[in-house]
Each structure stands twice: as C-alpha cells, then as structure tokens.
C-alpha cells in the first residue's frame, strides 16, 4: 500500500489495513520461526514499500506479504506479478544503500512472497515462495 492511499478513509479501508497488518505480523512470525532474522518492516519510500526485510544466512531477503480473506478472488500469490517482483528487487537496492551497516555481511539478494489466507473464524494459512526473483 502506498502512503497517501491509507490516510483517513472509510471503515472498510481501515478493516483492510488491519487485515494487511495482521497478515504481515503473521508472516514475520513465520519467517522468524524459519530461522530468518527480521531486519526491517514496512520500509517506505516514494517508489514503494518493502513489507519485510530479513536476513537468511548471507542472503538478504525482501519479502512481500499478501493477505486475503478467501480464494474467491484467486490466491494471494497470484496477485504478485513479475513486474511487482522486479519493483521489490529495485527497492531492495535502495534499502541496501540506506543500511550499509546491516548489509555488510550479505552476499546476495532474493525476493520472497508470503501469501496469507485468513478465513473468517479460522487461523491463518501461510504459503511461502522462496526466491521468485534473485
């Protein structure tokens, strides 16, 4: 979500924001449990937003999280296009520029996607795509 789109808005928008935030939290917990070190969350600049930045060994991972209530509009992963993945890769470069101290030890960058499905009255189901672009 781009800044500016989120200001004010109807209750529906706020509900959606809450859903997105919940999904990102769930994804971060999941990545942490997988042994990744979370470096940053919701890092924004004009070109876009990185939901999660993490480190997996000597690999820097930028992760996009997409949360949906159901599969009615397709799987959350389907909404990630190649173009979006490429934009995440570009943002990763900017992030590295801004955080030289955190990235000194990393040798490579990859883009991951976590899809979260949160049905009404059920626990979140996560699917994790590793390295859709590296």
């Amino acid at each position: 979500m781009l800044p500016g789109m989120t200001k004010g808005g109807a209750p529906v928008d706020r509900r959606r924001q809450a859903l997105g935030a919940y999904g990102e939290r769930a994804a971060a917990d999941y990545l942490h449990a997988q042994g990744l070190e979370i470096l940053d969350r919701n890092w924004r600049r004009r070109e876009g937003e990185l939901d999660i930045v993490a480190r997996d060994g000597d690999c820097l991972v930028v992760c996009e999280v997409k949360t949906r209530r159901s599969l009615a509009y397709g799987s959350p992963l389907e909404s990630i296009t190649w173009r979006k993945a490429a934009r995440l890769r570009l943002l990763a470069g900017f992030w590295i520029q801004e955080h030289p101290d955190l990235t000194r030890a990393t040798r490579s960058v990859r883009v991951d996607v976590v899809g979260v499905i949160l049905p009404y009255g059920g626990g979140p189901q996560l699917s994790h795509l590793i390295g859709v672009l590296s």
Partner: protein, 521 residues
C-alpha cells in the same frame, strides 16, 4: 520429484506424430508456461486447465508450472492437447498417480467446467498412436466410437477431468474403472468449418439413366479399370446424372482404404460418430472453388482439400472448363502420383489424393452448340476455345473421352437399363481379374498401366490384333498417347468379359470410347 509426463498425438497432414508432454512444478510465482512450439489455441490451454482443475475440485497449487511438448520442433496446433497437458500438470501437482498415465495417450479439449470436449481427427490420431506402439488411449467420450475403429488399442472415454482422475486412480489401484453416471455425450465432433462430404443419394441407380448406352458402357469401363472420364454434351443429356452414379458401380473400400478415407473426414470434422466409411466418396466441387479448397491448405494447420476428400473415390468437375485454369492444372501432379504436397512457409504436408477424375462440359459456353447448333449464340471463337481450355496435359491423362448426345425420343420409349448392382458385380469381377494379373506389380488397375508395358509387356496384344490401331496411328488420326489409351481401355473391356489379352473387337469397342471430335489428343 515434481515431474509429470504423459503422451499426446498431433496431426501432420493426415498422419499423427507422437508427442511427449512433460510438466514440471517448481517454486516461483504462480505461472503456467507451455513451451515446445504451441500455437495460440494450444498455449491458451493453460487458462482452460487452471479453471477446469479448480472446477473439478483439483485446484492447482500456487506454483510455477512449465509444460514441455517434445519434440519441440514440431508445431502443435489446436486444443486437442488440453487433456494431455492437464494430466501431466495434475501429476506434477501430485493430484494423479504418475506411473499409470506415462504411457497413455490423452486426446481432448477441456471446457472451463472440466468437461472433456470432442476434437476432430481422433481416428488418425489414435491410428498413429497404435502404430507407435501405444496400447492405451483416453479420448473424449463423444469420440470413443471413432477411436474404437482402431484395432489393438484399449480406449477409455473421458467425460470430465474429475471422472478421468477417478479412472486413473482406479487403474493405479487395479480396480475396475468407475461407471459414468452423468449425461452421455451427443454426436461426435461438430466443427463449423467441417463440410459434410456429399454422398450420392442411395436411390442414385444407373437404371434411372434414360438411354445413353455408350455412356453406360463408358462408366462401367471406367469403374472396372479406374479410368478417368470426360463427358462432353449438351445440357440435359444426363452428364451429371451419369457421373453421380459412378460411385454406385465402384466396389466397397478395402480396410486400408476405408481407414484412410475415414481419417480424412475425421480431420475435417465431417464424420458421424463411429462410422467407418465403406463407400467410395463422391466429391463435386462448384467451379468457383479456390486452389486452397481443392488441393488443401489454410493458415496454421494445413487442411486436406477436396481432392483428398475424394481419395479412393470420385472427383466430379461439372462444367469443367469453368474452373480456374490454375486449379485444373494443379490436378496434374496428384493424378500422376496419387498424393498432393501442400507446401506452406512453416510446413509442407503430404495428403493422399488418389481419386478418379470425372469431368463434364458443355460443348460451348451457352450450351446450345450441339447438333446443328442453330440456337447457339456463341461466337465461333468461343465455341472453338471453350472445350480447348481442358486440352493439354490434363486431358492427356483421361482415358475415356465421350460425347454424350441429347436423349432422343426413341431412347425414352425403351425400358429401364441395367441396375447399378448388376453392373457393380461385373466391375468387381473385372477388378479381381486385374488383381490376379498384376499381383506383385506396382499398379493394381489398368488405368495405371505404363505405356511401355501396354505395348511390349507380357500382357500386350499381338500385332495381328492391333492392326486397326496401327493403321490409325499411321494415318495420323491417333497419337501414340491416344494409342496407349485405347489399349488400356481394350484391356479393361476384355477383363469385363473374363480376362486374357484384348481381342480385335475389344480394340474396336475401345476406339468408340474415345469419340472423335471431342478434343484433339
């Protein structure tokens, strides 16, 4: 391993080529890629399969699927590969047991709801699969009867993707396949482009033709020896009627011929389900027919033309001089070789086209230039040039050239002539004589006998018998080519009378089947 493989068949001309369909599922953004030279319809299988699987409770996981169609150099056209691609992907997604589908050929188009739809060309596809050693095929339920014409292959019907999955699971567990309780499919492939092949009406009998004894004999000879026919005569003389009755004199197709003819009709989508065509086809194109329609062609997949539809049957060109000259001349190569090679930028395809040519023409453009020709309104030049449009290399290959006069009142008074069945029996016997004589030779009918064999071969008539013919040649009323044709017809006349070398009478009769004054030859 996230790999699925199965098999499919694609059409190359009227032959099928086996294609290996492999699907790989891997981590990555959900995509569905089909590689291996698919055309647009084939590439769109990805969208159909995703929807069909989801609607069959076999939702594909959000993974990256790559499907390869091997050999990659062979162009894949149409939607008939849907089912094979779908099955390979379902195996890769671990929704289907892989071992039982690897050697099975799958043919069919998928609907978004998971139904398996009929496709054209199932017979040649299954035939090719069987020849390549495949023992099990899955075809759309509507095409099952057609596939079952091929011996030695286990055919399973596919109604829906869900039912097919249950079928393969049952096979993997060695259980009998579950019964299908849903609606049964309607009639076979229906393609808008498929033109039904016109069959002579069953009532078309030679007995209906009034008079025209000479033309009847000509038809009998043509049927017995496989000779091409040219009929010249005024409108209303019965040329079309005669030509339409030629198929009723021809013997039924042999097993191999029937499969070839049925295959062609199957590709054109003009086949009633489960019918093996046994009768010689009769194709009568309008004289406006284009080159591509007649010899075959089309963009993308090359379709067989009218001459291939007439394979093992009769191609009737009514008003032959009205056909485009290029179209007429294009018939020369198939007349010679029995096949036609259609070359396009991407592929060159060979179709069978061994047909018997029957041409009919009016004596002049207005059609009234017969007899004294008083009512004819054509210029002398038009009258001279009209039939001459056919002359040359094309007419050179036509053995029987006959003038069909207008029917006289006297002929009307006489009773009905012989029925088709009676003549067909004689034709069948004459063909048996030829088959016996030419056993081991590269030709089967008198029409295909080379000139040298006619004149000097083992079956050539003696010089004493040929004396009339030799004189005609000497006088210049007969060319050497015409000489050969008369010998050929004489042989067929003799075969109709029981076989042996032609007699002087046979040659005399054969000379009448080339009425003088039709077209100079």
């Amino acid at each position: 391993m996230n790999l699925g493989r199965t098999r499919a068949v694609v059409l190359v001309g009227i032959e099928g080529a086996l294609v290996d369909v492999e699907a790989d599922s891997s981590m990555g953004l959900p995509t569905f890629l089909i590689v291996g030279l698919p055309d647009t319809a084939c590439r769109q299988a990805a969208d159909r399969i995703r929807a069909a699987a989801a609607n069959s409770e076999l939702r594909l996981p959000d993974r990256r699927f790559v499907v390869n169609l091997s050999p990659a150099s062979l162009p894949k056209t149409g939607a008939a590969l849907d089912l094979a691609i779908g099955v390979a992907v379902l195996v890769a997604a671990r929704k289907l047991p892989g071992a039982v589908v690897a050697d099975v050929v799958h043919i069919g188009e998928l609907g978004l709801d998971g139904t398996v739809r009929p496709v054209p060309g199932v017979l040649p596809l299954v035939l090719a699969a069987a020849r390549s050693g495949v023992r099990t095929v899955v075809v759309p339920a509507a095409n099952v009867a057609e596939a079952q014409l091929v011996p030695g292959v286990q055919v399973y019907p596919a109604h829906t993707l869900g039912q097919l999955t249950a079928l393969h699971e049952a096979r993997a567990a060695d259980r009998p396949p579950p019964e299908w309780s849903g609606p049964m499919p309607g009639a076979g492939p229906v393609l808008g482009v498929g033109r039904a092949v016109p069959e002579p009406t069953p009532t078309a009998d030679l007995a209906d033709v009034v008079g025209q004894d000479e033309a009847r004999l000509a038809l009998e000879v043509a049927a017995a020896g496989g000779h091409h026919v040219f009929l010249l005569g005024p409108p209303g003389a019965g040329k079309t009627m005669l030509a339409e009755r030629l198929p009723s004199l021809l013997p039924p197709l042999s097993a191999a011929e029937a499969l070839a003819v049925t295959s062609i009709q199957s590709i054109l989508g003009a086949l009633p389900p489960g019918v093996l065509v046994r009768r010689a086809p009769f194709v009568a194109p309008h004289h406006g027919a284009s080159m591509a329609a007649v010899i075959g062609g089309g963009s993308g997949a090359v379709r067989p033309g009218l001459i291939s539809q007439a394979h093992c049957g009769v191609l009737f060109l009514d008003e032959a001089p009205e056909f485009r000259p290029q179209v007429l001349q294009a018939l020369r190569q198939p007349l010679e070789s029995g096949t036609v090679v259609v070359a396009r930028a991407r592929a060159s395809v060979r179709f069978p086209a061994r047909f018997q040519l029957v041409m009919a023409a009016n004596p002049c453009p207005c059609g009234k230039g017969h007899g004294k020709g008083r009512e004819c309104s054509c210029s002398p030049r038009a009258r001279r040039e009209y039939p001459a449009r056919l002359a040359g290399p094309l007419l050179d290959r036509v053995d029987v050239q006959l003038q069909v006069p207008a029917v006289s009142l006297a002929a009307l008074g006489r009773g009905r002539g012989e029925a088709s069945a009676v003549v067909a029996a004689r034709v069948l016997a004459a063909r048996a004589v030829q088959r016996e004589r030419y056993a081991g030779a590269p030709w089967a009918l008198n029409a295909a006998l080379p000139g040298a064999v006619l004149r000097q071969g083992r079956w050539a008539p003696s010089a004493a018998v040929r004396v009339d013919l030799d004189r005609a040649l000497e006088r210049g009323t007969l060319t050497l080519r015409g000489y050969d044709r008369v010998l050929r017809l004489a042989q067929t006349l003799r075969d109709l009378a029981g076989g042996g070398p032609p007699t002087r009478d046979d040659i005399g009769q054969a000379l009448t089947l080339r009425s003088p004054g039709t077209v100079a030859a």
